[in-house]
């Protein structure tokens, strides 16, 4: 390790030191505002450190980590999203009782785990990243300690542990066959062996299955709705965006090094998963009455769409996936942000009835939520449309016609439940239900305003972001 290496590690160090500082501060004196501020400061420091990395990328730090533009792009996305989640959580939690300071320790650790994923170049780093992320999430999901929240935390714990086992077994098979856990070496030895080794293929399949749990693609998706529903709304936003996005970024990197197109059977298996996810997600969301569950199912479908772009080949692939992820992050954070700002002290605003007549009570919130839903549905002039357009273009460019047709069909099914939710917001409120008036969450609305501006901006003027993504992912 040289001084230069530490320059590269600076973002990770910043995001790793911040929780330590918060813990020490809490030990001295409990102050919610202080720990929240320290968390925000840590994230900002880590974000700024991204711009200060030394020359000479791609740069490897030990055999575990690699720092390149691709990693910086995704770290930036992760930090920005964590920042938004922190802001959303700050007022949400302040309204609740109990020891709240440690929330930010856990959140930053989860962020650290996610960042580690996008820089890993080795199954060792990969596994450590996933475990840091998962263990933090167990506690975060159960943080509010009401019945649903604890249940969700435990479910996530059991199932994530099981899938880690599957994942580890896959790594073991790959190691046994190739004798390495480093991605580039693994790729080289696989290519040398020929691609049709039984053990090798089984190992890759098990790794994908383990990742599939994290991404909540069908049929590994069943936990999603329960966990999304039980977790506090800001944590749900984190699970839906950062944790999935980081894993997807790693998946993309790994299968860019180990060319998935050379493994036809694996390719077919992932295609099956993509189709299953699209249908499972959209059909499950169709008549669902819980908004958090609707968004959970919708995220299953969106991961299915992403897999279509993932299976495409050529230059469009990484651009399409990355842009879609950016759009998905903005939209999902916005949607869960709305749920967060509408949630009262006792429970989250996740019943569809909570949204009846929202437009008459809170026109701006209803408009923002509508924009997010339109983007999820992929309506033009929103980021979601451009994202979907690129995904379809990537799929069509690689002649994945069956997958593209499925995507289009599923987009049509998806429209139903997004519009259903929108309609509810604009009809006049029922009489029996007296809406609880909540204090306006200033930071919450600030975050939502920024997100909705980004959403429309990316829908109308996506060129700069696409150019940024192109240049940053050129090495992949």
């Amino acid at each position: 390790m040289t001084a230069n290496d530490f320059g590269f590690l600076a973002p990770l160090l910043a995001i790793g030191i911040a929780p330590v500082v918060i813990m020490l501060a809490v030990a001295v004196r409990r102050s919610y505002v202080l720990s929240c501020g320290l968390a925000l400061g840590g994230i900002v420091a880590a974000f700024l450190a991204l711009f200060a990395v030394p020359q000479g990328m791609p740069h490897r730090v030990t055999s575990l980590l690699i720092f390149d533009n691709y990693a910086l792009l995704y770290m930036g996305l992760i930090f920005a999203s964590t920042f938004a989640v922190t802001l959303l959580a700050s007022e949400y939690l302040a309204a609740r009782k109990g020891d709240l300071e440690e929330f930010y320790v856990l959140l930053l650790l989860a962020c650290l785990g996610s960042s580690l994923l996008v820089v890993s170049n080795h199954f060792g780093a990969f596994f450590i990243g996933i475990e840091i992320l998962s263990i933090s999430l167990y506690a975060l999901i159960g943080y509010t300690r009401n019945g649903l929240s604890i249940e969700a935390g435990v479910k996530y714990l059991v199932l994530a542990a099981a899938s880690s086992g599957i994942f580890l077994f896959g790594i073991a098979l790959l190691y046994g066959e190739t004798g390495t856990m480093e991605f580039p070496l693994l790729a080289a030895r696989t290519a040398a062996q020929g691609t049709n080794g039984l053990i090798l293929t089984a190992g890759l399949a098990l790794v994908v299955a383990g990742i599939g749990f994290k991404l909540a693609v069908a049929p590994f998706h069943m936990w999603t709705a329960d966990v999304y529903e039980g977790a506090p709304a800001p944590v749900t936003a984190f699970v839906a965006t950062v944790s999935k996005g980081a894993v997807f970024a790693l998946l993309l990197r790994f299968f860019a090094i180990v060319d998935i197109n050379a493994h036809h059977s694996l390719f077919a298996a992932v295609a099956v998963i993509a189709v299953l996810s699209m249908f499972a997600g959209n059909l499950l969301a169709l008549l669902q009455n819980n908004v958090k569950r609707i968004l959970a199912y919708s995220s299953i479908a969106h991961l299915g769409y992403l897999l279509v772009a993932f299976l495409a080949s050529g230059a469009m692939r990484v651009t399409a996936v990355s842009f879609y992820l950016v759009a998905y992050f903005i939209t999902t954070l916005g949607a869960f942000g709305v749920v967060t700002v509408l949630s009262g002290k006792e429970r989250d605003a996740d019943d569809i009835e909570d949204y009846r007549g929202l437009f008459t009570r809170r026109p701006w919130t209803a408009l923002i939520f509508s924009a997010m839903l339109l983007s999820l549905a992929g309506i033009p002039l929103t980021a979601g449309f451009i994202g979907k357009f690129y995904v379809i273009a990537a799929g069509a460019g690689s002649a994945l016609w069956l997958l593209v047709v499925m995507l289009v069909l599923n987009s049509a099914i998806g429209l139903y439940y997004y519009l259903r939710l929108m309609v509810v917001m604009y009809v006049s409120p029922g009489e029996e239900k007296v809406a609880v008036t909540l204090p306006l969450s200033v930071t919450g609305y600030l975050v939502l305003a920024v997100l909705v501006i980004l959403l429309v901006w990316l829908g109308i003027y996506p060129a700069p972001v696409i150019e940024l993504i192109r240049s940053m992912t050129a090495g992949i």
Binding site: I166, L198, A205, L206, F220, M222, W223, D226, P462, I466
Partner: protein, 631 residues
């Protein structure tokens, strides 16, 4: 100066945005300042851009400002780009300048209306969309503007939405123009499929290289675009929506349904002139449709009682002249008539608005009369507008533009005596119905006291437009009268020149004498029939044929009736008897199956961890199974 081009459409959009968000909290003065101000600044910028364009013309006679590329995938790269050349400059100047005057007028006209800020928000959105339409450098952006103005037209026709009749007029306008828009959209697909681009200049180049003159594809593309133009510009057979569109506030009629939006079709055809030159049958159709429309609408205008409906039919008829000009290849004459028409028709609508306001929202001309003394400014400006519309010789703008069209409909290569005769007959009708309107409204006995008089803010636009309705024509002096074709020389840097058969100057002079005589004769006929000897016309209308003709013309040649019987009623009938048809069954089936699968899948969401773990195990088996079996 040119780099500020994007601001010209952006400012009205910004005005719309501000008014939409904060309008409800602003006072009337603030709304007026933002609403009219944004368009006013746009007009100033447009004038500055025009000055810099004329004093230092860009190389090639055009200049493109590319802001960004919306999406970039292989061949499909629609840019957000504005294209400034002589044609779009003229359109921009007219839209912003006339638009500003109408906004100014509306600040007073609409005062005390409860939807004041909503009105200006829509109007600003309209101006922004219209400018997007004329400045667009590709057909996709043009289409965005095209649909934007259609939306605003719908919103503003139905502005007083509490009366259901206004709502249905708005829907009628939207649906009828939509028929044309659908044709146009298909045209865009066709062009993109075959030429691989939507950039207008590239289309023009590629089309003339790849499509031979008269080829099927060129004809299809031109015909489909023409379909869009017919709907938007209210030409046969899609003209039925415009008279009903008068349900909107009068400034809306002046801006959207007279001066700007309805001429978008003319602009589209002029902009894509190469396609129409490659499709001679379509271009001939343009001329014939124009000639037929101008005659039919002229007859209808003769019989209307509602002052705004007279003007609406007159607008249809005048756009007919523009189509006639486009059809005979007199591109610059069409644009010239667009400009003068924008001046005098906006003036007439605004004047009519002042009259209607003074009459406490009375539209029926037969209940007005003798307003000459009571509303002097309105009277004189209205008279100037009427003179210009009737093309009274030498001193009016309408004379120069209409004369040019009539001359080319005779002398150009595509012209014919028939077209000319139709245009001449139309000119006679024009001056009869115009001065019928003047005499009924301002002369004769007084039937009702004038109420509210127009204030200064409403008077300024009237005077400004009256001045333009006179001097606007001097931009193009025919060779018989000074020979200074400044306007056509300017726009002919973009548009192809007229292919004239080379008739002698004396022929043109003779024709001018004839048309001057005809328009003056029309005024005299109107004077005779509607001021001096009303019994003649009453006697005429009382005969059997007279009554039948009156009914036919009054109803706009019964197009509404025919469409109702031929399209609307059968559609309702089919919809009624076909309530549970098999097509529906198919879609119901889809919905049912979706619901069914939703139910089935929901069963898997049991909330039990062991069941979920089974899912993971199953997934792993599927993954490994497929990966190994297919190996």
């Amino acid at each position: 100066m040119r780099t500020l081009l994007w601001l010209i459409p952006a400012l009205p959009f910004a005005g719309f945005f501000v008014l939409a968000v904060f309008g409800a909290r602003l006072r009337e003065k603030g709304v007026a300042a933002i609403g009219a101000g944004s368009v006013g600044v746009s007009a100033v910028l447009a004038i500055l851009a025009g000055i810099s364009f004329i004093t230092s013309p860009p190389p090639g006679g055009s200049w493109t400002q590319t802001l960004w590329t919306w999406i970039g995938v292989d061949g499909f790269r629609p840019a957000i780009a504005f294209y400034l050349d002589a044609l779009s400059l003229v359109m921009t100047l007219v839209v912003t300048f006339v638009g500003f005057l109408i906004h100014l007028y509306a600040t007073e006209f609409m005062s005390d209306d409860e939807g004041y800020s909503r009105f200006f928000a829509y109007m600003n959105l309209f101006v922004g969309s219209m400018l997007t339409l004329v400045l667009a450098d590709n057909l996709l952006l043009l289409y965005l503007g095209w649909e934007g103005v259609g939306l605003c037209s719908y919103l503003l026709i139905g502005f007083w939405y509490k009366d259901p009749a206004n709502g249905s007029a708005a829907m009628k306008a939207f649906i009828v123009t939509r028929i044309g828009d659908a044709a146009m959209a298909v045209g865009l697909f066709l062009i993109f499929m075959n030429l691989g681009t939507l950039n207008i200049q590239e289309i023009m180049q590629k089309a003339s290289h790849t499509w031979p003159r008269g080829s099927g594809l060129a004809v299809a593309a031109a015909a489909l675009l023409l379909g869009g133009a017919l709907g938007k510009s209210a030409q046969l057979p899609l003209q039925t929506w415009l008279p009903d569109a008068m349900a909107g506030p009068t400034p809306v009629s002046a801006l959207i349904h007279a001066a700007t939006m309805v001429t978008a079709g003319v602009y589209l055809i002029a902009r894509t002139n190469v396609l129409f030159l490659l499709a001679p049958p379509v271009q001939a159709a343009v001329a014939i449709i124009g000639a037929a429309t101008l005659l039919l609408a002229g007859f209808s205008a003769l019989t209307q009682r509602d002052i705004k409906r007279v003007l609406a039919y007159s607008t249809i008829s005048q756009i007919g002249y523009m189509f006639l000009a486009l059809g005979v290849g007199a591109w610059s004459a069409a644009i010239f008539h667009f400009m003068t028409h924008a001046f005098f028709k906006a003036l007439l609508f605004l004047g009519a608005g002042a009259v209607i306001l003074a009459m406490e929202h009375e539209h029926d001309m037969f209940r007005m009369g003798g307003l000459r003394k009571e509303l002097p400014v309105t009277f004189w400006t209205f008279l100037i507008g009427s003179a210009s519309l009737s093309a009274l010789p030498l001193v009016t703008a309408g004379f120069y533009s209409k004369d040019l069209i009539l001359w080319y409909s005779w002398s150009s290569e595509n012209g014919s005596p028939w077209l000319w005769a139709a245009g001449l007959a139309g000119a006679l009708l024009t001056s009869i119905y115009t001065f019928r309107m003047v005499f009924l409204t301002f002369f004769g006995e007084r039937k009702k006291e004038a109420g509210r008089r127009p204030g200064r803010v409403m008077t300024i636009p009237l005077v400004a437009l009256a001045v333009l309705s006179v001097i606007g024509g001097f931009a193009e002096l025919p060779r018989t009268l000074g020979n200074m074709p400044v306007f056509s020389e300017f726009v002919n840097t973009v548009l192809p020149p007229v292919k004239a058969a080379g008739e002698a100057q004396s022929a043109e002079a003779a024709m001018q004498v004839v048309t001057s005589f005809v328009s003056l004769a029309g005024v005299y006929v109107a004077y005779l029939l509607f001021l001096r000897k009303r019994r003649y016309v009453e006697g005429l209308a009382a005969t059997r044929t007279g009554r039948a003709l009156h009914r036919l013309w009054f109803s706009g040649w019964a197009f509404d009736w025919v469409y109702d019987r031929a399209l609307v009623q059968p559609f309702f009938w089919i919809a009624r008897i076909n309530r549970d048809d098999f097509v529906d069954l198919f879609y119901d089936g889809i919905a049912w199956y979706n619901g069914f699968f939703h139910g089935a899948l929901s069963l898997t969401q049991s909330g039990k961890v062991r069941w979920y773990a089974m899912g993971i195990a199953l997934g792993t088996v599927i993954m490994v199974g497929i990966a190994v079996v297919l190996l």
